[in-house]
Symmetry: C2
């Protein structure tokens, strides 16, 4: 009963779509990847379009995104004119790469902007209590951003980490 398999794949693709959408990607990327991941052989763009229900354009874009992220790859299939695609299967590696190339930037950028805000406050000549209070609190936020950054960095590098550093920093600040 192949209909059941199709249904199962759609459910899985939907689920993965929601997960990656939550994570800030297009849900179609999740669906396409899942379809590829659950297929024994490489699939062509038109097969993907047909089986996911996505338009040709969406599939083309989705695939190009996946290729850029190294989450799918192009493979030659003998006797077929169309390009075919397979899923990268190292899910763990995928997560690591994404964290490295996206979260790291995000947190790094935030860290810098908090620094900027602090510098601005510190440049006030005749600072009053409000200014000092804001500086104090902003330093706290910056501290969290720093911790976040080093956690993400460690994770991206080592692939794993202990969250212990957070405890230290937290107990320090009540």
């Amino acid at each position: 009963m192949s209909t059941k398999r199709e249904r199962a794949i759609l459910i899985a693709g939907d689920t993965m779509g929601d997960l990656v959408a939550f994570w800030g990607f297009k849900s179609s990327m999740g669906r396409i990847w899942t379809l590829l991941y659950l297929s024994t052989e490489p699939l062509s763009a038109s097969e993907i379009a047909e089986r996911t229900g996505l338009s040709s354009g969406a599939v083309s874009m989705g695939l190009s995104d996946l290729l850029q992220w190294g989450i799918a790859e192009k493979v030659a299939v003998s006797g077929a004119r169309a390009k075919h695609y397979t899923a990268e299967t190292d899910v763990w590696g995928i997560v690591r790469r994404i964290v490295r190339e996206r979260e790291l930037r995000l947190v790094g950028k935030s860290r810098e902007r908090f620094r900027e805000a602090i510098a601005l406050l510190e440049s006030i000549e005749d600072a009053d209590d409000h200014d000092r209070f804001a500086i104090e609190r902003l330093r706290g936020l910056l501290g969290l951003a720093e911790i976040g950054y080093s956690l993400v960095e460690t994770f991206a590098r080592v692939g794993m980490l202990s969250l212990e550093p957070i405890r230290g920093a937290l107990s320090r600040r009540g």
Copy 2:
């Protein structure tokens, strides 16, 4: 120079807005919270609207979201008719609560849907190689979802965790 403070607060608010938006919340929530967090005294809705540049409606909704998440609270200010608000300052606790009430649901739901897809495949009488292959791979995804779930759960409960379990599960699967 209070303009500098205003600017610093806007920068910080923007930064926090981006962070929380990435995390799936409205960026206005981040801005409002940041403004409150950096202010020495509680602020009224209209002050918040004025200083963030948000409309009254947006502030009202943002505040109600923040209150529901326990990220801001209402305080009575003597001699003021309007309600005033302050920021919850335990950032760590906030993160924990959000993880518990949102990520846990999300991952839990995904886990169930993967199970459902697997069950569907397993219900196929005359399963072929493709079916078996898909089951195998789906079990892998389910395994990751399980690990994710227990990590998130542990984190939500203990407030901290070691990511070690992941290593084990990963080396097990190549």
